[in-house]
Symmetry: C4
Subunit: 206 residues, 4 copies
């Protein structure tokens, strides 16, 4: 039996949304703090500056990938919260767990940018994406089970929300597994999956 305090806690979905927007905004912008610019001492001409910027390619790629990751999960969380009528204490804490994983994205990005050829770094990056998806899935399952979902949300919408997470996670896992062939191939596949969800919604989505 839940206590009184736990009944009155975590009802305010607006504040959960505001905290989420704030954390996503900071995480998306903090990624840039880890991007380095060439050292002036190494650059003596326009051509050398261009070459030095080109040599920083791994950090640009991981940066772009992480912004896509955050954008996709921000949109996913927004879609979920749009269909929730009211919060509870436990629902709030599931989403705080989700936000915890969001704050770790800049860190796993930095790890991947520095150790881009290491399977361990790629595995941790994938684990971060997996936890993001798992928390969102848990949040929706919990909301359905405890009747937090808005009355006008059809079963079709509910299934579509779950299926979207499961298919995306299957594709990410397949992409991450390719790191046993080549880390670069693995990153390329993950970025392609992300671009598919961000730009060209024609494949594997329902």
């Amino acid at each position: 039996m839940p206590t009184l305090y736990n009944l009155i806690q975590g009802r305010n979905l607006d504040r959960l949304a505001a905290l989420s927007d704030g954390i996503f905004a900071v995480a998306m912008t903090l990624l840039v703090l880890d991007l380095h610019i060439p050292l002036p001492a190494h650059v003596h001409s326009e051509r050398e500056l261009l070459a030095a910027l080109g040599a920083l390619a791994p950090q640009w790629i991981t940066y772009g990938m992480s912004f896509l990751t955050l954008g996709i999960f921000w949109a996913g969380q927004q879609t979920q919260l749009n269909h929730i009528a009211e919060g509870t204490r436990d629902f709030t804490w599931i989403h705080l767990g989700f936000l915890f994983a969001v704050t770790l994205v800049p860190l796993s990005t930095r790890l991947l940018a520095v150790f881009i050829t290491y399977r361990v770094a790629l595995g941790i990056y994938w684990l971060n994406i997996f936890v993001l998806g798992a928390m969102l899935y848990w949040g929706w399952m919990y909301a359905v089970r405890t009747n937090l979902v808005k009355a006008d949300t059809t079963d079709e919408v509910s299934h579509s929300i779950c299926r979207r997470i499961l298919i995306a996670q299957a594709l990410y896992a397949a992409g991450a597994a390719l790191c046993f062939v080549s880390p670069w191939l693995s990153i390329a596949v993950i970025v392609l999956v992300q671009l598919n969800y961000a730009i060209a919604p024609k494949f594997g989505q329902s």
Copy 2:
């Protein structure tokens, strides 16, 4: 007798909530800036990378603990503000004091991560948690005394809000006192208390 300016100041609870969400969001995400990744020069194999990440355990533990701390007090402040009908200048400044303590959490976390075996570092971390609780308690007491609380808030709810803070602070103080036995034991107990409030609301709560 309050002056006119003090009467018109600090009425807008929405902006106080927005500022709070912003400060919590930044503080939660800034914690990650203090997490270091292994230096590439020290890592020559997948196994070494895993080992190097494992050696950074103290910073992971303090990071997780601080995210829990911030999550607990964010939820606590939200619950309090949900029951307030309108703000006043003094109520706003009590909460600005609370937010001041929130901005110090990343700093006391960094201190604890670096000096994890020092009682002084643990004491300062506990003091930070204590001030957070004390400001929230003061804010509620003030709101009750000056009739800022919403009309539909029962005495039971009000008592439950106070009791929650007092019991939690008693448990934190007991946990912190254990640092005279062992700092690690102390941290373990504080994390257990926090997990109890975040995950398993079955014990010592009302």
Copy 3:
């Protein structure tokens, strides 16, 4: 034919606005992190401190210019969103692309401050401004084509929004092209164009 999930995604313009405000707020404040203060070891008198601060002029100029850039595009996005009735998934992703370019402003600013006499650095800074304008223009074109614009928005308003972006971008491009004469002249012209839009709306605006 869009799938069900894509129909229910990205509807919430309020959260898009909140994420945008957060990202602009962080980007505007992060710029300051790249501003350095003189080293104490080099300063032995009040006069030397003033001189050392004066020597940091390039960073002050690029900082001021970037705050103006962010302010102009924040106001521009706000004006656009004020005239949109509801969002769609694709509209959201166009604006996430816009926000991606916003997060890059602190980085291209840092590059320009360090390599202020290099055409490559100025070219990248201009490219950043160009992408900001192009995404806003694309967003408005898309909203008009897919009937997301509010019913009370006249054609005149719509033309005025487009013309504003095109004229501003033409002026920025002309300013950037002057870097083949002199990078300093180029920066001066860009700042003048920005000040025109921020302070003295008397010229080239409709």
Copy 4:
């Protein structure tokens, strides 16, 4: 004659408030990034850790002072915006100028913490506070002149808002002028003025 675009720009006060809350939240939390903790190599006992923390007193004082500064001006801006019915393009840019000064507070704080005995550093810190007050005053004057103020705002309220800024700025200027006697005295007086506005509203306020 204002152009059409300038008429439709900057109407949304909610987004101005959200951007302001974001910038204040980041600035308040960023201050902490400049606080250093003692180096582990210099600390070998509990007592040495306490002593090392005590030696960092100047940074704690400037940090506390800057949080007070930001809190006071956040409350001041909130009070002003609460009495504004709708925004205009020019009103928005006056407040963007105000926010520009807000983003500089962490920088002038850092300068003062490092050069705490220099009059130039104190003068720049005071200049920052002066610009904050001047922009708020200008914003209110502009709003009154162009009829943006809400209909239910009495002349008394309007005078009280202006007088508050003028008296506070006179006290800050007097405090800053004391730096010709002693920088420490000057800082002490400024902090006392701030505490007066934050905590003990009994003196010099109307």
